[in-house]
């Protein structure tokens, strides 16, 4: 289904704390997104003119949930754009352009769905879990405050860097254990680039298909700016129109820019355009 050629002004119904994150909810006439799709968001008031005269551009976020005409987004305050959005309260206006991009594809019959998320990148896995009959969900966070984000999903197995919740270590340890037990699976993953690269490599070695939701600095979300490219086996792909979900087989590897600050996956605008 096409996205409306018009950003729409939504009214926020809630901005709820979820540990280190916020969940923004807004009344959305739709069209409803497919899991893995994203929207470009901007505050209706005071967008721009903040610290360093930013933000200017809208910010990209995966839909975390879409229920009964309400869109949910998971945010972490990591830059001027996310900071402004995290300030909004019920009744405030929110510009939305979307739904945009290519989402997740259903697993072939009899393969189980393994959802692997890290940090704010768990957002598209929540809406994907809603759409699937059954899924195993593995989530990784850096500490206890962030681990509260797991509340977005149901029955998730956790890993934390500081050992405060679940497995003391990486979520990819949990993934390897799951695949050791039963590799007849499709892996769906979103998270910081180093985590996605680890997921890609683990799945490649075991010949397990994987669909990865990637992120990149993004100015428009509809193919105009050519800013959000990632290298694939067939050249650069624009994540906004060719992704953000890519088949792992299309990638030689998931690029991790050494200069990029700690990832804020799920907001596809991590890195420079926060």
């Amino acid at each position: 289904m096409s996205a409306p050629l018009q950003r729409r002004l939504l009214t926020l119904t809630a901005n709820e704390r979820l540990g280190a994150y916020r969940v923004l909810r807004a009344v959305d006439p739709g069209p409803p997104p497919r899991a893995g799709q994203f929207a470009m968001l901007a505050a209706a008031e005071r967008w721009g003119g903040g610290e360093d005269e930013r933000p200017l551009l809208a910010r990209a976020f995966s839909y975390a949930r879409w229920q009964e005409g309400e869109a949910h987004f998971l945010l972490e305050d990591v830059g001027p754009g996310t900071h402004r959005l995290c300030e909004l309260g019920a009744g405030n206006g929110l510009w939305l352009l979307g739904p945009l991009g290519r989402g997740f594809e259903l697993p072939p019959e009899r393969r189980r769905a393994l959802l692997v998320g890290g940090g704010v990148g768990i957002a598209p896995l929540a809406i994907w879990q809603d759409a699937l009959d059954e899924a195993t969900v593995l989530l990784g966070f850096r500490d206890a405050a962030h681990a509260h984000g797991a509340g977005l999903c149901r029955d998730a197995l956790l890993a934390t860097d500081d050992g405060s919740h679940g497995h003391h270590g990486r979520v990819t340890d949990l993934l390897e254990a799951e695949l050791d037990a039963d590799a007849h699976a499709v892996v769906y993953s979103c998270g910081p680039p180093p985590m996605l690269e680890a997921v890609r490599a683990i799945c490649a070695v075991r010949d397990v298909p994987a669909q990865l939701a990637l992120e990149a600095g993004m100015a428009c979300g509809f193919g105009a700016c050519f800013g959000c490219v990632v290298p694939t086996r067939s050249g650069y792909a624009r994540l906004c129109v060719d992704g953000p979900v890519l088949d792992a087989a299309e990638l030689e590897r998931v690029e991790c820019h050494p200069a990029s600050a700690p990832a804020a996956s799920g907001t596809r605008t991590a890195g420079t355009v926060r």
Partner: protein
Amino acid sequence: MPSRERSRRERHAYGGNGPLSVDFCGLTLAHPVINGSGTFDAIAARRVFGAALDERFPFAAFVSKTITLQPRAGNPPPRLWEAPAGLVNSIGLPNKGLQRYLAEDLPELARLPAPLIVNVMGSSAAELEALASACSARAEISAIELNVSCPNVKTGLDIGADPRELGRVVASVRPAAGTKPLIVKLTPNCADVSACAAAAQAGGADAVSLINTLRAYAPAPPARAGHPSPGPWLGGGSGGLSGPAVRAVALAQVAAVAARVSIPVIGMGGIQTAADARRFLELGATLVAVGTASFSDPLIGARIAAELAGRGHRVSGNATPF
């Protein structure tokens, strides 16, 4: 072409007797708002937005991204940096090359309800001549825009930054463009943009467009606060600045150029509202172009045009100006 599409196209391209109808180099445009080259991909937008893109096309003419003779992959990422009130980009002119553009993209772009202006870049007069010549042979193309913000392969100087070199290049390309209007996209990264505009006119340009992006640098964030930046953020090293941050510079350059030349001027640089567009038109621009503002709102061109015509509401803060 289906009759519904044909009638729509004719209304826009030839039936321009509305309140904002503009004659531009012999083309009748429905209004004075177009897009800056490289800021809108109509083919991708049609995939994303469907038939609405053609039904509510936001621009009075469509300017393609830059086409080169050979395919270009573009610069390695990262390609974007949000600057204070602006955007630094280092995209690197990715395109499929002239032959595949003409074979694959041109039929798609010909279906748009607006005349097509093709932007081309070459690193020598000979390359530009070849590009202009190929475009001049195609009925789907209404005008040709030269991107001269490119170093000459022999001298290393930007063709568009040196008035004498620019005049020579335009004079050699002009015959290759045949009967098509030839627009020269001026670079702001020069000592005297009005001298460059005058040289373009003397070389036979039918119009000039400005400003292109301002050369800009984006330092990568330090690993920790207080530490030195590890170097450039952008994969291409340096980039070009656009957005509201450049508007005052653009107004100055458009004013200087419009005062110097007698050919039409396309003004652009940080236009976000109809009020911004009016400033450029008042200074002598015949058309205005939007670029960075389209990234936040794909319909901004149509909103500005509607507001210039006295229809619709203010651009900001309104969900439904139509």
